[in-house]
Every structure is written in C-alpha cells, then in structure tokens.
Amino acid sequence: MGDNKTLPAAVKRWDENTVAKTIGRFPERQETFLTISGLPVNRLYTPLDTKDLDYEKDLGFPGEYPFTRNIQPTGYRGRLWTMRQYSGFATAKESNERFQFLLDQGQTGLSVAFDLPTQIGYDSDHPLALGEVGKVGVAIDSLADMEVLFDGIPLDKVSTSMTINSDAVVLLAMYIAVAEKQGVPMDKLRGTIQGDILKEYVARGTYIFPLGPSMRLITDTFKFCSEKMPLWNTISISGYHIRESGSTSVQEVAFTLANGIAYVQAAIDVGLNVDVFASRLSFFFGSHSDFLEEICKFRAARRLWARIMRERFKAKKDSSCRMRFHTQTAGCTLTAQQPDNNIVRVTLQALQAVLGGTQSLHTNSRDEALSLPTEESVQIALRTQQIIGFESGVGDTVDPLAGSYYIESLTNEIENKAMEYIQKIDEMGGAPAAIEKGYIQREIHDAAYSFQKSIDSNERIVVGVNKFQVDEEHKFDYLRVNPESERKQIEQLETLRKTRNDGKVQTALKDLRQGAEGDTNLVPLILEAVKVYATLGEICGVLRDVFGEYKAADL
C-alpha cells in the first residue's frame, strides 16, 4: 500500500527518540503485549506492515472473490444480519411459546436447541436420558413433537437453524414432514442443520456413529438437498465449539476449515460436483473477547476459505467460494460473578461480529454462567443487537476497518498461521485422521489449560473474577425446567407408541436397515420412517445396530 521509501528511517527515529524518551519516564504496562490467542501485538503499525498487501488481489471488493471485505456487495446496507437467538427447552409446547415470543419481539429467524437425548439419538424414556429431558433444549421423540414445536409458525416465511449433528438427517426429515403438512414444499424451505460431526468428536461431544458412517450421512444429505432443497444450508461447519473448548483464534479458523476441507473432499469422492453443493455450506464462529483479533479472524477465515475453494478444489463459481457464517458471542467468557457485566461483554463481542461481517448473530444472555437464560435476559441480549443495528451506524458502510495497518496485518497473520496448521493436518491425512490420532483434541486442551493458568496467575485479568471482585449474593430469577416436563414427555411418547400404526413403523425401519447395510441414499428412507411416526430412538437404534458407535480416544 503506497511507496514508503523514507518510512523505515522515520519509524526508527520515532522509536529511538520519542518512544524511548517516554518509556524512560513512563514504562509501559507490560513488557510484551499479546492477543488473547498469544499473538504478539506491536506498539504501532504503519504502512510498512501492510506493504506486501495487494489491494485487488488480497482485499478486493465486497461481494467479489476473495470476499475479504464481505460476501455481500452492499454489506448491511441492504439488510441487517439475521438476529437469531438460540432457544428451546422443556417440551415442544413450551418451546413453541418461546419461539412465538421471540418472533413477536422482532427476531428474524429461529434457532432450535434440542435436549441431549435428542442430540444423541435416544428417546426420552431411555435410561441414559434420566434428568436430561428438556434441559438444554427441547425434547423431540417423533414427528408428533415436531408438529407441536412449529405449530402456527409459517415455515415458508421463517428460516430455521437446528443445532443437531450426529442425527441431523432425522430432524431434517421431521422438518420436511411438518412443512409438508403445512402445505410448504421442501424446495421452499430455508434454514440450516448444523450436521458438523467432526467437531463433535473434538469439542462438543454429541457423536453417535463412527467416522465413516457419519460422513456417509453427511454426503447423503448434501446429495439429497442439492437435488431437492436448493435453499437449505446442508451443514454449518462450526468453530464455535472448538473455541469454547479453549482453542485460540488461529486454531478455531484452522480446525474449522480443515473440517470443511474434509467434508468437501468426501462429497467430491462420492461423485458430487463441487459447484453443485459448495454454495450451501455455511459456517459458525465464536466471538471471543479480544476485540480487534476477532474482527481479523472473521476476515481471515473468509479469505482463506475462498482461496481453498478456488485453488484446492477448483471451484468455478464465485458462490462456491463465499463463506457465509453465523456467529455466537462466546459463552465461555461469561462470568458467574457480577453477571450484569456480561451485558457489556456481549455488546463488544456482538459489535466485533458485525464489524467482521457476520450473516447472523446470537447474543448470549447475562445469566448463562448460572443457568438457562430467563425471558428478560434474552430480551436484553436481543436488544443489544438491535441497538448495534439500528442506532450505532456501524452497518452503514461495508467493512469499515479495512485498510487499518493493524487490522490488515493481523488478518494476514491469522490467515498464514491457520494455513500452517492446515498443512500440518494435511500431512497427517486430513482432519479425520488428525482427530483419530487425538492431535486436534490435544492442541485445544493445551491451549485451554495455559489460558486457565494465565487467569489463575493474574497474567490475564477477568473483571470480577480475579480483579475488582465484590462480595455478592446472586438474586436472580433462574429459569427452571419443570421436572414434570420429563414425565409429561415420556407419557406422550408412550401414548404415541400405542396409537400409531406399528406395522407401518416396522416396515419403514426394516427398509431403513436394508438401506443402511447397502449404499443407497438414506435420506428418503428416514423421511418415510418419520412420516409414520417411528421415533428418533428407533431410527437411530437401527443405525446404531448397523453402523456401531464411536469410541472416544483416550487423551
């Protein structure tokens, strides 16, 4: 950027005179400054730090390759990001009421949280489901629950994101079936299933099947949707949970994109054309507490993915190279101490995500280090987004921080460091192999441990936790999931098993078993099974039988 022949000497002069004089009298707060991910931060950045940047090649224009500045030509001037609060708890009926509340409050998309039994393919009456039914999300046992969950919500109007992974295909099938009952054909449905199994093995833990069959379910879904659901996001390749598990920002980008590479490769290997499915891939990142680093992370991830798609996978269409992503503010930065401070943390993190160009955003509630959020806390979190969107003005020009010497320098550094990791993972045989070796898990754990150590030793300050503490008693209204919900859910399940047509269920499950044993696409078979009210546990039970279960590697 520009011709700076005399600049090196000028920087040297500034350093040796002006800075040295000041430091002699007023030492800096620390010997060295590091980002939260451990990247060094210089005192000052100048055009020298961005001298190798080629504007048209490395930044370009919004809406054009390599999309560093934004995937939309007009940024947020056309439409603000989708404000999408993740929610769901207890029974389908209670969750449906929360959805209606959020839509009334101006939320523009739904994001469904499922309880753990649903996420791991167990019905609510399974012994391992004890105490978990309806806790971290809504309990779904069959299509009957899904009908209640979306009752009165027009599925041709809202887009729905579902945080479901190992058994995503079953929930997708239920969604298709509910929509069909509402008279909405599947090619009109908009939304996302997370469906990112690789990060479950390393970070989130809701895996069921071994790697091979899990990847098959994913490529079956890609194939089915590329033919029948052109508006559906078939996967949300997620760095959020990797980051929440303690990774650095560089690791978040690297491991997420390495997983992305594995999915693209798997789809190509089963014969799909990259330009047919790639535009429906979506991503999901966290927004942690280092303000400038996070903005650079989003920009770096976007550029790196574009380059991977074009250079490595030879994608012809620009839309195949476009990284669309959802962001959630970092749950792990919320403190149980002085919980109202979390509103401020979330505000900064939300602003980062917007300055980084996110397509949709979830803002955490202040009380989430204590319990599930109350309706009041969720409302403040949503209002935070609305204030940024409608009052702050930051969305009125595209990528406003571009060209900052530091922003561009750090964007480069994150991209380069992430690429080094990806090369290392490639040498191990790709993300699945690196996961089976436990490499990615160990890297994350090491980063998490040293982060905790830096807080315990007061090297890193967390306000209210290791500095500025007060004596406090928490006077919070907790959201409590009524323990009755679990019993009610199990009762409904028992009624369903008695009243449905069992013959049809058995036939559908037999067909599914045969399909799973062969190599036919399983999505249509699962769709048939959910339509006759086979339960999630029954469907996943058949697949568990045929595929076996994943056993986690010892760390």
Partner: protein, 133 residues
C-alpha cells in the same frame, strides 16, 4: 494425611453432556499437583461412576455437569455410594449449577460445589484438606 500416599481421584462426566473443557483442565491441574487422576470420559451413568470409583480405589470423585441434570444425577451417585458402603469417598461437583441448588446437593452428600471462575488451586487445596486417605 500421610505425605507418602498419593491421592487418587476419579474425574467423571455423568449424564449426556459433552462439555469437557472444565473437567479435563481440573484433571490436569490435579495431576500437576501430584495426584493420580482417572478420567471416565463422557456419558457415564451413576452406576458406571460408582463402579469405576470402587474398582479404582479412589479417595475423591470430581463430578462435572453443565447440562442441568445435576439434581437428578448427583444425589443418585451419593445413594449408590452409600449402598456400596463407599460414602467415605470425598465427592465434589462443578459446572453450571445454580446457587439455589447447592444446599440440597450438599444435603445429599456432595461435599463442595465449584462454580465457574474457581481458581484451580482452590480445588487442589480443598481436596488435599478434606480427603480421607
């Protein structure tokens, strides 16, 4: 306690919750403090936790839950320990546990609950001070 005997700890994840960042960090901190630590991995039933504790002859069990299932699972584990005559084992818990729930969990026999933000040294010191060897 005798300084020659090593404290043995079982770190356990009862329930279906996959949040294991905390439990793994605590396990490593206890190891660094000289204890022998066994980590169960995810998705343990109360029966599996108690079986492992007895088989491994541990002095302490550290339970971690972030899904909200603690009220159902922690007391169940304490019941089973009592039934096995192993309730001299020190049991602590951690995770996302509302303060209002703590009195009942302590009544059930959980010795201490460590919430978010607890320094690792506090956990180490607590176990050293309270474990019966």
């Amino acid at each position: 306690m005798s300084s020659s005997k090593k404290i043995r700890v079982l770190m356990a994840k009862p329930g279906l919750d996959g949040h294991d960042r905390g439990v793994k960090i605590v396990a490593r901190a206890l190891r660094d403090a000289g204890m022998e630590v066994i980590y169960t991995g995810l998705r343990q039933t109360p029966e599996m936790v108690v079986r492992a504790a007895i088989d491994e002859g541990v002095h302490c069990i550290g339970l971690s839950i972030l899904s909200g299932a603690h009220n159902a699972l922690f007391p169940k584990i304490m019941e089973l320990l009592k039934a096995e005559g192993a309730d001299d084992i020190l049991v602590t818990g951690g995770g996302i546990i509302p303060e209002d729930d703590i009195p009942d969990l302590k009544k059930a026999g959980i010795s201490e609950i460590f919430g978010p933000g607890t320094p690792l040294d506090d956990i180490v010191e607590y176990i050293k001070a309270n474990v019966k060897l």
